[in-house]
């Protein structure tokens, strides 16, 4: 499944059925800063109306890709097009983009209304039309009545809404968002995520969103491009990258993962079976090509796919509880086991987990999912 999504992105000639569907296209884009390669022949097509997230650790090239779309600098190789038009040499101000910055970058000497109307004024839109569109977008971001305030009189959340309104009011071909929520506290962030997604869906504006926060990426996106070291490691829906990561990097970067030492039982066509104790897990065979039968492989299992049971059930492995972490909605139990070099992380919603699985208790660990992912033990570099 993930392979299909992958090839979709990596070979644009397959994914572009009609150019009308593609809002932003990167074709083998390379960018160097001095000797370091920030982007290495990256190809990516963002469909019209799609919410696409670039996810990765700092330095992976996600912001560079966004800045290339904005035109703050040019690529060293490859082509970038917006709405089917090559924009490599088009300066930022002629690109019809809307951008929201990490610190919002509101104009401190202008009122909320003037900030929002700036892009309309630059486009010589009539005063009455400006006013109409400013009022409409203010209602959209729920700031009606604040048009005469100055930016410094607004809270962080309100400033963010102004920044969003300012970027949206010009009906951009693509909305570019650079870690817009990083300055907000946790509750406000969650509320703004829902709201931004809602607005994006209503307007159907193509959105390219940069974040290092995997939960943000999973909750908001239509598709996620997981990046590392200047390349796209996997492109797919949030469920794709979470449940069917294409390599070890994606598996460990997106969500928590336990790495268990299993054994390759059988390999047949697109799927393979990995065994661990009494557990048998079906995995995609692609990452395991070339691995000999019954040799060890690394099985990646999410914390919520592990279950703790009493000794004697047919189980995957066993171990000793070393820590309990109470999280309110769930409990994380750490189990030291032979099957993994690190403590296993077991996530459970049981009310009595804290008292049942006390520290020092010997327990069995079961794998509750019947399918997962596995990778060859050493070959793949993180």
């Amino acid at each position: 499944m993930n392979k299909i999504a992958d090839s979709d992105a990596l070979s644009p000639e397959l994914s572009i059925t009609t150019t009308d569907d593609v809002a932003v296209n990167f074709d083998a884009v390379t960018k160097k800063f001095g000797d370091s390669v920030a982007l290495n022949a990256v190809s990516l097509s963002v469909k019209r109306g799609e919410f696409m997230t670039l996810l990765g650790p700092s330095g992976c090239g996600k912001t560079t890709l966004l800045n290339l779309a904005a035109g703050f600098f040019g690529p060293d190789g490859g082509e970038i097009s917006i709405d089917g038009k090559r924009v490599n040499d088009v300066p930022t101000y002629q690109r019809e983009i809307g951008m929201m910055f990490q610190n919002y970058a509101l104009f401190p000497h202008m009122s909320v209304a003037s900030n929002i109307a700036y892009g309309l004024k630059v486009r010589h839109i009539s005063k009455s039309e400006q006013e109409r569109r400013v009022n409409a977008v203010l209602a959209l971001v729920k700031l009606t009545g604040l048009q005469d305030r100055m930016p410094r009189q607004l809270s962080g959340g309100q400033q963010q809404r102004v920044a969003l309104a300012r970027a949206l009011v010009i009906n951009p071909a693509v909305l570019l968002l650079d870690e817009p929520f990083s300055a907000l506290d946790k509750n406000l962030r969650a509320a703004m995520q829902v709201e931004l997604r809602d607005i994006q869906r209503k307007l159907g504006v193509t959105t390219l969103f940069v974040t290092h926060d995997q939960s943000e990426a999973l909750s908001m996106s239509d598709r996620v491009a997981v990046m590392s070291q200047g390349r796209i490691r996997q492109l797919g829906t949030p469920a794709d990258v979470y449940c069917r990561p294409s390599d070890r990097f994606v598996a460990s970067f997106v969500g928590d993962a336990n790495i268990l030492r299993g054994r390759l039982e059988q390999i047949e066509g697109a799927s393979a079976v990995v065994s661990l104790g009494a557990a048998r897990v079906t995995v995609p065979s692609a990452p395991l090509v070339g691995v000999a039968l019954s040799s060890p492989v690394d099985l990646f299992v999410r914390p919520e796919q592990l279950k703790i049971g009493d000794v004697s059930e047919p189980c995957a492995t066993n171990g000793t509880v070393t820590a309990q972490v109470y999280q309110g909605g769930h409990v994380d139990i750490h189990v030291a086991s032979e099957a993994s070099s690190r403590d296993l992380l077991v996530r459970t919603g049981e009310h009595d987990a804290l008292s049942r699985w006390c520290i020092g208790r010997k327990v069995d660990v079961l794998i509750s999912a019947s399918d997962g992912v596995a990778f060859a033990t050493t070959s793949d570099v993180r």
Binding site: F72, P91, R95, R166, I170
Partner: protein, 272 residues
């Protein structure tokens, strides 16, 4: 918690020290101000009888009137030219990399370390060669050199504090570079530009040492006129002039504060 005698003593002497220092700083202004209202024709302190007649005399004195006018002309031209030149250089130094950048920066700031009489003398020698000795151009050129470093500094600091992302945001909204300059960069720099101009104007209007070399009878500025006056007379009209100087400058700063916020004009507040 009760404070010990030692702590109280320390607090008291601390307040006293602050009071003494502040008093010492404003002492000359206080003495001169009081002397200005002296009825007698000598510069003495404290005055026995009070009068405003030295103010009347100072305002009526022809050389002072001429000096005031010359000073305004020189100040207006020199601080405006210095502002334009200084702002351009500050912009170039902040935004661009070029050859001999640090050398140019050092040269631009060098009038800070060269004595004013050296600069005045230099201009005088040059002017003597070209026959410019009696012109405004000479005085203005000399003052531009003297005040340029202050304008440059002031604008440079504002540029440093300017959030470049505002300019980038404006560009992303479709503003051409010229439009970004006029609608974002310049308005945000305005407090720095005004404070630079104000500093330059105050410095230029008060400048004496270099002005003594480069002014002639026809271009004599107020401080030079005062110097010439004090060589012959020693009545309190000098003090009266000083009071008007202080009042004028204070009024200027109050005005700047009222309309622009002193913190912003003097670049005390960090730009957001």
């Amino acid at each position: 918690m009760p404070r010990s005698t030692y702590q109280r003593l320390l607090g008291f002497s601390g307040k006293l020290a602050v009071l003494l220092i502040v008093g010492f700083l404003i002492l000359p202004a206080v003495v001169v101000t009081m002397a200005a209202f002296n009825d007698k024709a000598i510069l003495s302190f404290p005055p026995q009888t009070w009068s405003l007649r030295w103010f009347v005399k100072a305002i009526a004195y022809e050389d002072f009137r001429a000096g005031f006018y010359h000073g305004l002309v020189v100040t207006a031209w020199s601080s405006t030219i210095a502002l334009i030149v200084g702002a351009l250089f500050a912009f170039a130094l902040d935004r661009y990399q070029f050859l001999f950048k640090s050398t140019i920066e050092a040269v631009l700031l060098s009038p800070l370390v060269i004595p004013h009489f050296t600069i005045g003398l230099g201009f005088l020698i040059l002017a003597a060669q070209t026959g410019w000795t009696r012109t405004y151009a000479l005085v203005i050129a000399c003052h531009v050199v003297l005040v340029l470093p202050f304008v440059l500094r002031s604008v440079y600091v504002s540029l440093r504090n300017l959030d470049r992302r505002c300019e980038i945001a404006a560009a992303s909204l479709g503003a051409s570079p010229l439009r970004v300059m006029t609608t974002i960069t310049l308005p945000l720099l305005l407090p720095g530009l005004i404070s630079g101009w104000l500093f330059a104007a105050i410095l230029s209007f008060n400048e004496f040492t270099a002005s003594l070399f480069v002014t002639a009878q026809r271009t004599q500025t107020l401080p030079v006129a005062m110097y010439n006056y004090v060589r012959e007379f020693a009545d309190p009209s000098m003090a009266a002039l000083s009071v008007m100087y202080i009042a004028g400058t204070a009024a200027l700063i109050v005005f700047a504060n009222a309309f622009l916020g002193l913190g912003k004009v003097l670049n005390i507040e960090q730009n957001r």
